[in-house]
Structure formats: C-alpha cells, structure tokens
C-alpha cells in the first residue's frame, strides 16, 4: 500500500465507493464490474481502476470486484476498521445537529467530548453526552488520545479554538466555521462550508436561465 502517494482527490472518492458497496451488499450483489461501479458513482471506469490501483490489486480482469472483499479493504485503507475518537467544539444549532448526526449515523466514530464557550450550555446533554467547558478540553483530548475534531463555532473564535486544539495534539479538523483556518503543515483541515456549497450551486441556476434566453 503506497498510502502516501494517493492524491487528496482520490482519498475523497474512497468513501463514495464504500457507500456504493454498502448498498450493493445490502442488495446481495457479490461481484461488481468497474463499469457498473462507474454508473453508480458517476466517475469513469478508468478513474475507478486508477483510484483503487493506488492501494493494490482488488479486482479480477473481466469479472470485476468482489463487493465484500473490496469493502473490507476500503474500510482498512480509510481507517474505518477501528473506532475513531472525536471531539466537537461549538453547540449552536449546527453543532447540535451535526453531533447527533455523527453519533447516530457513524458507528466507527466515538464522540468523547463536546465543548462550548457558553456557560449556559455546560451540563446540557446531546445524545447522552454532557457539554463541557473549553477549560476541560485539553484533559479530555489527552485522556482519550483524540486526533480528530469537528468545529462548529462562529467565524470569529474559530482560529483561537483551532490553535487550542492543535496545541493539544489534534491533527485532523472538520471545519464548519465560515472562515479560513491557519494550521501547521502536518495538520489536515477539511473546510465544510455550507455557504460555499450553496453559492456554487446558484451559479448553475443562472446558467440555466441563460440557456433559456438562448433558446
């Protein structure tokens, strides 16, 4: 496995393959060709073969991939074959929703700490987890050896929160705060900005209007 050679774009597609495989296995499909995998994912068959080749040879020429085998391999490659511990910072509406979403939908994720700067939130419960003060964060991260954090605070305090997280050993951050975060090179940040998703979608509605005018 040449894990380090796989580009970011490939890594982003692995969970998509995994989701398709989950669905196929649920429908008792045992073998899938890259052509069918292509139809299901929207990526070209060539792209899929290239992506998977970064991690080894999983298919049989002319037959395809064994769904259960490929799923297990992908779980291992991504790191979902064992539990990942997660802390959440910020319990506004978005933070609450996303924390519930992760706790209920992702069996491989274990939320070990939820933090907020607002004292009014301290002690309130989200899916059985008590919200803690920011002061408790370093202890919890250390105790559970947490590497992953989800940030759902407003833009203003986000960088300060990130600095604290990085200082305490967090190396992977899923950021929902609408701001660019500055982190050391070895820390990975995924910016999940919902405004940006919506904005680039709006571009396409305008394009459609233009098309209509042209007709």
């Amino acid at each position: 496995m040449s894990r380090r050679n796989a580009p970011k774009s490939v890594i982003k597609r692995l969970p998509v393959y995994l989701r398709i495989l989950d669905n196929l296995i649920r429908r008792d499909v045992e073998i899938i060709s890259s052509r069918v995998l292509s139809e299901e994912t929207g990526f070209t068959a060539e792209q899929i073969r290239k992506d998977l080749a970064y991690f080894g040879a999983f298919g049989t020429r002319g037959t395809g991939y064994n769904t259960t085998y490929l799923r297990e391999k992908l779980l291992r490659i991504i790191g979902l074959d064992k539990e990942t511990k997660l802390v959440v910072v910020g319990v506004g509406h978005l933070g609450k929703a996303l924390t519930r979403y992760n706790i209920t939908k992702n069996p491989y994720v274990k939320v070990v700490g939820i933090f907020d700067a607002n004292p009014k939130e301290h002690g309130s419960e989200i899916e059985g987890h008590k919200v803690m003060s920011m002061e408790e964060m370093p202890r919890v991260i250390k105790e559970h050896d947490v590497k992953v954090a989800m940030i759902t605070v407003p833009a203003e305090p986000a960088q300060d929160v990130v600095d604290q997280l990085v200082e305490n050993g967090i190396t992977a951050i899923l950021n929902f705060a609408p701001t660019k975060l500055h982190v050391p090179e070895e820390v990975h940040v995924h910016n999940a900005d919902l405004t940006i998703e919506l904005q680039s979608l709006i571009y396409y509605t305008l394009e459609d209007e233009k098309k209509n005018y042209a007709e």
Copy 2:
C-alpha cells in the same frame, strides 16, 4: 463571459475568492495581488489567474486586483447580485439547523418554503417560516418560480422527494441525504455528505500514525 466553458472545479473556487475579498474589504484593503490572494486561499497564483480568466480580465499586470471591483464581478458571475429563492425539504435536527443557517447567514438566499412529511411538524416555525406539508410543495414552487432546493431528509425517501422536486421545476439541488440521487442531465446536484467529509479526514489521521511508526 464564457460561462459555459468554466469547469466545475473553477465554479467551486469562486465563492472561496468571494469570501476572501469580503474579508479584505472589511479590512479596507483596496488592491490585492494574485500572490497575496494565493496565500489567503491556498490555491497557486497561476491557478487563480487561470480561474478568473474564464470570465474576463479583472486585474492590472504588476498591480493586482481592485478588491471591490472584483467582488462585484464575482457576485454577478455566480449570480449573487440578486436574490435566489430556495425551498427546504426535511426538518429533522439537520434540516432545522441548516435552514436557520441559510436564513441568517446568506442575505442573497430567500427561503420561500419549508416542507416535511411528518404531520407533527406542520405549522411549527423556523425563523418565522411555517413548516408545510409535502402536498403544498408544488404550489409554492410554482408561485415563487423556485429553482433551488435543499434536501435534508433521510436516505430512504430522498429519491422520491427529488423526483417530486424535479417534476415541479427544480433544477439545482443541495443534497444532505446520505444517498446518491438520480436526476435528469439538466438538473445539478451537489452532494454535501457529512459522513464522507469525515471519513476522508480519518484517512489522514491513520497516515499520521503510520508516519509515527516509521520514525
């Protein structure tokens, strides 16, 4: 403006540029070079120049871009210079949070209808908007000539909801349901899957561990 020639990846970067420009203007920065824009965004200066060149010549060689001018142009290119109407389907925790987020954070977006299949939700209010039954959806979409929808329903009913939306004239969908949607070619879907974001992030924590082992 050769709008149709710009690839999807370019369109996804436009809102990022916009956000940086907003910040710069707030800090009274009038001119910005592609080098500084590169530092702020993380994209290369060459990439930025190429991206913007799809839509015209906005900078002055050796000087840079006028922030206010470029911001106005980008707003127009994306379609944010006028209000976009939006319907939301699904008011679970995620739906409620995202609806509030959009209503309060995005001045260019106007939510004109919020729908849910659960009768218990009908009549409840989110930021002053009453939740309606699915039966009212076609009328609302038609009345306001809505083109954009946000889906925050579970995976199971998602395709059925999408079919109804498309049938009633929706052409752009921001999908938070954890499933792949099948739509006609002219309909644009952005899949904002939070599980997938988190999964590909977990990959990098594993990579870090491997690095530690190697040391």
